[in-house]
């Protein structure tokens, strides 16, 4: 603890805030201590809303050592009063660091190759026999298809050119284009607010250099590790989630596709219209995944986790959990 304010100063502030005499504020705080004490004696627990909970914790007999003589002594059982701050208090006190999230230590979890330990664990929780629904992927992902190569970019390029020319009449045109783009994503319910901004960020980058079409040739060259695969040309409105549903019948297998198209797809929620996407085929079937399929799914989810973490998505960790699930 760093600095402290005195009890007197605290009483003064309280009196000023509540508009009561200092005497009264002082008495109130004294009585508050008594009331909490009484509550602890009676229930062992006192809750003050938005502040926290005072708890009585029993500490049994423990053996200690007298540091001077080295002699063993028994510290008799006693109670200790604990205080658990309420979430509101915790957040306010921690506002400086609230943005920081817990991150997994690389290579600290169960490595993918230690299959045996993870397998025996599955029978232990047969209740979760619905593997189709691991925590993360159950939530439909509003993966936005963004027309970069398609109409939108053409539109934006046109708009940009028109704007550069400074034509006033032409400036009337852009709104209609923009409206069209905003109408386009009917599916995303979750973050319609975020998607448009991504659009804005993404497009100015591509507009100055339309030659970025080049990478389109690369994905087919990307090895899919010997797996048979199909190629899908992305249409407007396609999402990884939908593609997984179409090709596997299981929307939550989308990380497989995401992973197979790795260098090309950065943001899992952003698929460019017109690119060819590799759809890796399963070794087994969606109902009976082989070990290979599971591993691929786990890796896919891990990549998705990394991507979402990069993008600062709050539920990124759900994907890591899914990854562990498939390991």
């Amino acid at each position: 603890m760093t600095e402290k304010i005195t009890f007197d100063a605290f009483v003064d502030k309280l009196a000023a805030r509540t508009e009561v005499s200092k005497r009264r504020a002082h008495d109130f705080l004294k009585e508050l201590a008594v009331a909490i004490d009484m509550g602890l004696v009676r229930d062992g627990k006192v809750r003050i809303a938005h502040f926290g909970t005072f708890l009585l914790h029993r500490i049994g007999d423990t053996t200690g050592r007298n540091p001077q003589t080295g002699e063993s002594i028994v510290i008799p059982a006693h109670n200790r009063v604990l205080f658990h701050p309420a979430q509101a208090l915790e957040k306010k006190v921690n506002r400086e660091y609230n943005h920081m999230k817990a991150t997994p230590v690389r290579g600290q979890g169960i490595p993918p190759d230690t299959q045996p330990p993870s397998e025996p664990e599955e029978p232990t929780m047969p209740v979760e026999e619905q593997p189709p629904a691991p925590p993360g992927p159950t939530r439909p992902l509003p993966i936005r298809t963004i027309a970069i190569v398609g109409a939108a970019v053409v539109a934006v390029v046109v708009i940009a050119l028109l704007v550069f020319r400074g034509g006033e009449e032409e400036e009337a045109a852009p709104p209609t284009e923009v409206v069209e783009e905003e109408v386009a994503p009917p599916a995303p319910v979750e973050e319609p607010a975020i998607a448009p901004t991504e659009e804005l960020v993404e497009e100015p980058v591509t507009v100055p250099e339309p030659p970025t079409l080049a990478p389109r040739e690369e994905p087919p060259l990307q090895a899919v590790e010997g797996m048979p695969a199909k190629v899908h040309a992305v249409k407007r409105g396609d999402t990884l989630w939908d593609l997984a549903e179409i090709y596997y019948g299981r929307a939550d297998f989308w990380p497989l596709i995401y992973r197979a198209n790795q260098p090309l797809l950065r943001n899992p929620d952003l698929v460019m219209v017109g690119i060819d996407i590799i759809i890796p085929m399963l070794e087994g079937s969606p109902q009976a995944l082989t070990k290979e399929d599971s591993t691929n799914l786990a890796k896919g989810y891990e990549l998705a986790y990394q991507a979402y973490q990069r993008l600062g998505k709050p539920d990124a960790e759900d994907y890591l959990r899914s990854s562990r699930w498939y390991e």
């Binding site: 009331a35 004490d37 306010k92 506002r95």
Partner: protein, 96 residues
């Protein structure tokens, strides 16, 4: 003991209305919260000392990931019970 019961006890003992006791408690809580948010501590006689300190970043095991995670630096509230509390409570049985 719930928040309401604390208010009732205070109202009875101070001979004020429950509304007044409620308001006083609310202001006390907000004042304490503010004080702690400003990284200052305060001692309430017979109750104890509230303060804050930094808990450094550290590693911990997270069972749902089956792995270690790094918990980020955090400013946490500390509470040291005052003697008024401790003395009274040392021989009370805790029902777990």
């Amino acid at each position: 003991m719930t928040h309401t019961e604390v208010v009732q006890t205070l109202a009875r003992r101070l001979d004020i209305s429950q509304r007044q006791a409620h308001d006083l408690l609310k202001d006390t809580v907000s004042l304490l919260t503010e004080t702690l948010s400003e990284e200052k501590g305060v001692t309430i006689p017979d109750l104890g000392t509230f303060g804050t300190h930094i808990r450094q970043q550290h590693k911990a095991y997270n069972p749902s990931y089956k792995g270690l995670i790094i918990l980020p630096t955090k400013r946490v509230v500390s509470f040291h019970p005052g003697t008024g509390l401790k003395g009274d409570l040392s021989d009370v049985e805790v029902m777990e």
